[in-house]
């Protein structure tokens, strides 16, 4: 295979794996923001919490990596309900600024707590045999962990798409995103719906955090470091849109990977340039409502 084709395939493959991570972690944020217009800067903290739950389970309690991911998602999702009921709920009608401050405060506290218990040094997790090494896809070898990420992402996208587009609850969520007051007046309990989506979204973020340990490394600063990226995915995709979040994750994931392959010095520049370009043309994102 010619040289440039090899690079192109590598970029696509790595970009796709990265995009799946971005999608899994950001989709909850997008839906909750679309539902309540709540700017949740603590979303990265939920992802980080998920990562540390996985670290504790695998390293200290000897649970396998994949079951740990599932447990982390459930635990963090359940804990997030407490935060939603106790704190977030009070601020749904407040200004952007107050929401930003509250959630940034929570993120700081989460970072400090994680530093206290786990230290500032990045953690790693023991992976099962079948996730180490490379997998042969016929024409090239690819890292099996990234292949796993892509498959998992595809499965989750299918499940979410089905839940969103084909079930009663999904229809209710879409109705509430479109017009909250109308949805309430036809008898949809938007508050409860929101708690549910918030929990699922935080659980998915925790899953993303667990997956990120191997992909990006996990240290307490994860909560803020990658938060910007999640927010960008949400803003570029359009609030409350599953399709939009997926498209944004793909575009940004591939652009970021391409940027890092082709122009290592430019680092994150590409992602932000793409973000600014998209938002200047479509302020509400790909599939957001103007």
């Amino acid at each position: 295979m010619p040289h440039f084709a090899i690079i192109a395939v590598s970029i696509l493959f790595d970009g796709l794996a990265y995009a799946m991570f971005l999608f899994i972690t950001s989709v909850g944020l997008s839906v909750t923001m679309g539902l309540m217009g709540f700017v949740n800067l603590a979303h990265g903290a939920f992802a980080m919490a998920g990562g540390y739950v996985v670290v504790t389970l695998t390293r200290n309690l000897g649970v396998g990596f994949v079951p740990s991911l599932a447990i982390a998602a459930v635990v963090v999702g359940a804990v997030s309900i407490v935060f939603e009921r106790g704190l977030y709920r009070r601020l749904y009608k407040s200004t952007d600024l107050e929401q930003v401050l509250l959630t940034i405060g929570l993120a700081f506290m989460a970072i400090a707590t994680a530093t206290y218990f786990y230290g500032p040094i990045p953690k790693s997790v023991p992976l099962p045999e079948w996730l180490q090494g490379d997998v042969n896809l016929g024409f090239r070898y690819f890292p099996s962990y990234r292949a796993f990420l892509i498959v998992l992402g595809a499965v989750l996208i299918t499940v979410l798409w089905y839940g969103f587009e084909r079930t009663n609850i999904g229809a209710k969520i879409r109705a509430a995103v479109d017009n909250r007051r109308m949805a309430e007046s036809v008898g949809i309990n938007v508050d409860r719906l929101f708690t549910l989506t918030f929990a699922v979204g935080s659980g998915l973020a925790a899953l993303g955090g667990g997956l990120a340990i191997q992909l990006l490394g996990l240290s307490p600063s994860f909560a803020v470091l990658y938060l910007v990226l999640f927010l960008i995915v949400v803003a570029v995709g359009g609030l409350g849109s599953l399709k939009g979040t997926l498209l944004a994750a793909l575009v940004l994931g591939v652009f970021d990977t391409a940027g890092k392959y082709l122009l290592a010095d430019a680092g994150g520049f590409f992602v932000y340039a793409v973000t600014v370009a998209v938002l200047l043309i479509k302020p509400a994102g790909f599939y957001g409502r103007e």
Binding site: R90, A107, M109, A112, T115, V228, V276
Partner: protein
């Protein structure tokens, strides 16, 4: 009968107008209490002569928070990328000194103000049509893109190692840099006083009133024909210039600058300071920045983790219970006591 009615109405109108004029005058006349922060700053100079380098940092952050107060507190623009202008100012002075050997400090401040204002004008013109999350993301992306640009051209900017060991010419050709930072403390204080006077004039001008109007009700301002976008771009440019001056002072007092000035942390920090002090009240920046810096200095020496947790907790509590900052809290307490006395 009818004639006397009109004269009475005219007299009434005149007295209303007089009272309005009187009210406005009283509002922006200097009050005695406004001397307090400046007296405090001068007192600090004599009481803590060995902590002047830290004192200069506080003054720099006060100025930075003041510039944010103009756009956040008065115009109601929520930005997560104000560090962009601080960084532009800091690097203007740094690059002038390191690459062009232009080390005269005061002209450096003007250069920083101009460059930051240009960046503020261009980005503001593009970005201020947007609101909410989109605006947050765009301002954040601006700061990070500037940082990445600096990193990309590390041959010029020095990359993440920054520009260490800068030296500047003596102030006004007379006062040299001293080890304890006495000169630079007074210098920073003087610059802050000038900037503050300027900001105060803006805030109490008709332009400042229009900004408050935009913050309170953008639609009504549109409806009465106020050029909302231009007003916002103007104040954004002014705030950028002031943040640029703050950044320039930062570089001059520290004698170094690194790309971390563009960090999200820096934007978040200045916002936290302003919120702690209280937005839209000029002196909030003074109280917030001083309290924050002193607490940070003390607690982060004890334990940085503890400090970070503490500041997070303070933010959460402030949003839940003290939405108008420390000064707002004092105000509420004053009102409470006054009411108790009355009854």
């Amino acid at each position: 009968m009818a004639a006397s009615d009109t004269t009475m109405a005219a007299a009434d109108r005149a007295s209303t107008r007089e009272r309005a004029a009187d009210y406005l005058l009283r509002r922006h006349r200097f009050r005695a209490a406004e001397a307090l922060p400046w007296l405090f700053a001068i007192a600090v100079f004599f009481v803590f002569p060995d902590r002047m380098t830290f004192g200069s940092q506080v003054l720099v952050m006060v100025m930075f928070a003041l510039s944010l107060d103009l756009i956040l507190g008065y115009a109601g623009i929520v930005t997560l990328g104000h560090a962009a202008f601080f960084g532009v100012g800091a690097y203007t002075v740094g690059l002038l000194a390191a690459r062009l050997q232009w080390t005269e400090p005061i002209s450096g401040l003007f250069a920083a103000a101009i460059v930051a204002a240009i960046v503020g004008f261009i980005t503001g013109w593009f970005l201020l049509r947007y609101r909410g999350l989109t605006l947050l993301m765009l301002t954040l992306a601006t700061a990070i893109m500037l940082q990445e640009t600096g990193n990309l051209r590390s041959d010029i900017s020095g990359g993440y190692d920054g520009l260490p060991g800068l030296t500047f010419k003596p102030l006004l050709g007379i006062f040299d840099y001293d080890l304890y930072g006495h000169t630079y403390y007074l210098y920073a204080l003087a610059v802050l006083a000038v900037v503050f006077y300027f900001v105060r004039r803006i805030v109490y001008s008709p332009f400042g009133q229009a900004l408050t109007g935009i913050r309170e009700n953008v639609r009504r301002m549109h409806a009465i024909g106020s050029p909302v976008h231009w007003r916002l771009v103007t104040v954004y440019t002014i705030a950028a210039a002031i943040a640029g001056v703050a950044g320039a002072l930062f570089t001059q007092t520290n004698a170094y600058v690194t790309l971390t000035v563009f960090d999200f942390d820096n934007s978040a920090k200045v916002m936290v300071m302003l919120i702690l002090g209280g937005t839209g009240r000029l002196y909030g920046a003074f109280v917030g920045a001083t309290v924050y810096m002193v607490l940070e200095d003390y607690f982060s020496k004890l334990s940085p983790t503890f400090w970070q947790f503490g500041i997070g907790l303070v933010l959460v509590l402030a949003v839940l219970f003290a939405r108008r900052g420390v000064l707002g809290l004092f105000e509420s307490m004053g009102q409470y006591i006054a009411e108790r006395k009355k009854s």
